[in-house]
């Protein structure tokens, strides 16, 4: 356990710079987004009300009040989130390949550590999870700050105030990142964890058997998807809507755990017996 935690600490320190840079970009871009969107709304209001002499009530009726939704729907807000998602997606692969490539092959050292090689797998998957939850947590902290800036820039009567909960539940894309219920959280992040574990296993197949490994990895991925969807497929096409929704959910959770266990077992086997440096 101690070695696992040391490895997690070590792996996380290796990405802390990239992580901080991405967080910085997100904060700056979203803040710029708040300022730009608020100013553009205020400019429009000024133009209509002071140049075209439109009454305030008519302006509000025609253009509506400014709310955080306008900011959250802009690319200033979603762009950096997409960048962070892309960063995590890229790092799922890079977290393994960076140890093999280059002049200094660090994978030698990792595989020669006096600890179970599965700890390397667990440490890397934990790092991906920490990165993901780190982004989500910081985003949750950023939203109220951005709301405060919006409030400071746009006068009360032109503004429709929204709470953080409202923001994250109204925008469909944000509900993916911020699930509104515990079940949804398990579903979204459980599926994400499964996907990462299957990808890691695929990468280890490639690292063990090279070209043949890519094929094996793809087959393993396809098999994992089939196993995961099996209850749904049976329910829909074979058993004629046989299961109650709660039964289907339990079956899906069991299948998910099965795929996760298989990924851990296969990865452990590959790391111990088949991987080559």
């Amino acid at each position: 356990m101690k070695k696992y935690l040391q490895l997690v600490n070590f792996e996380f320190n290796r990405i802390v710079k990239l992580f901080t840079v991405l967080l910085g970009i997100t904060f700056v871009a979203q803040m710029i987004g708040v300022v730009v969107q608020s100013r553009s709304y205020l400019n429009l209001a000024n133009e209509k009300m002071y140049k075209e002499m439109m009454p305030q009530a008519e302006f509000l009726e025609s253009f509506g009040q400014m709310s955080f939704l306008q900011i959250a729907k802009s690319s200033w807000f979603f762009g950096p989130i997409a960048l962070c998602v892309a960063g995590v997606a890229f790092y799922i692969f890079f977290i393994w390949y960076r140890d093999w490539i280059g002049k200094n092959t660090f994978i030698y050292r990792l595989l020669m550590l006096p600890t179970s090689r599965l700890n390397i797998f667990f440490a890397k998957i934990t790092t991906i999870l920490l990165m993901t939850f780190g982004f989500v947590a910081v985003q949750l902290i950023m939203i109220p700050i951005e709301i405060m800036v919006l409030k400071a820039m746009v006068p009360n009567e032109f503004r429709l105030d929204m709470g953080v909960m409202e923001v994250v539940t109204i925008i469909p894309e944000l509900t993916l990142i911020f699930p509104s219920s515990f079940m949804q959280f398990i579903f979204h992040y459980g599926l994400g964890l499964l996907a990462v574990s299957v990808l890691f296993t695929g990468i280890l197949f490639e690292r063990s058997f090279k070209w043949k490994g890519i094929l094996a990895g793809l087959l393993y991925g396809a098999l994992a998807v089939v196993v995961l969807l099996l209850p749904l497929l049976l329910h829909e096409f074979v058993l004629n809507n046989f299961f109650y929704p709660i039964e289907l959910l339990v079956l899906e959770i069991i299948m998910g755990l099965l795929v996760l266990s298989a990924s851990i077992w296969v990865s452990g086997f590959l790391l111990k017996k088949k991987v080559t440096v």
């Binding site: 280059g102 002049k103 200094n104 092959t105 595989l111 020669m112 111990k272 440096v277």
Partner: protein, 229 residues
Amino acid sequence: MIEVKEIEKRYGRKKILKGVSFTAEKGEITCLIGINGVGKTTILKAIMALTPLHKGQILIDGKPIDKHSFEKITFIPDSLTMLPNMTINEAMEFMKDFYTCWNQKRANELLGFFRLEPSSRISSLSKGNTAKVNLLLGLALDVDYVLMDEPFSGIDMFSREEIANVFTSHLIENRGVIITTHEIGDIEHLLDKVVLLDDGLVTKEFSAEAARENEGKSVIDVMREVYQK
């Protein structure tokens, strides 16, 4: 004792090792000699479970390698296995964190022996100094066996001498060493045992001292006999 028993290894369709067997005793320096591509590095990697074998078995003190074995045996490859952005100090910290057999006193001694600056960044080191750091990280572990892959490869004469001096020092004493090298001349007089490899097989395994005393032949003489037949 490290026992390598009838090991076979293929890369694609090419069979690199065709049933290699030899033993390496604790307290002895065993040298694997053979032309490039004969599988010397593969044997060392296989001992450390860094590459799978198709057949055969390797035992360390009678047991197959497992996670605990890495406190007992270490491998010093021909490239540095630490992150380039680390300083020598950070690399030593890393080793200290993960290995209970890390011996900081010996590490400090090696730092002095090789005249290395702990605050130097690994990426900024010359090839010779990189090889020395590699040796430092391996030899500062209190392990019974040390595997070294081409420790003299591409290194200047003075660094080679410094590294060769390690073999006559207490840093190696009582340990079992398996070394692969082309620069046999640097350490010929220090070898206890030589394993000559050719075409995926051990062509000759002999005691260097016995060859010197009984037949009056150096390791190079025996190599000539075997390879130039």
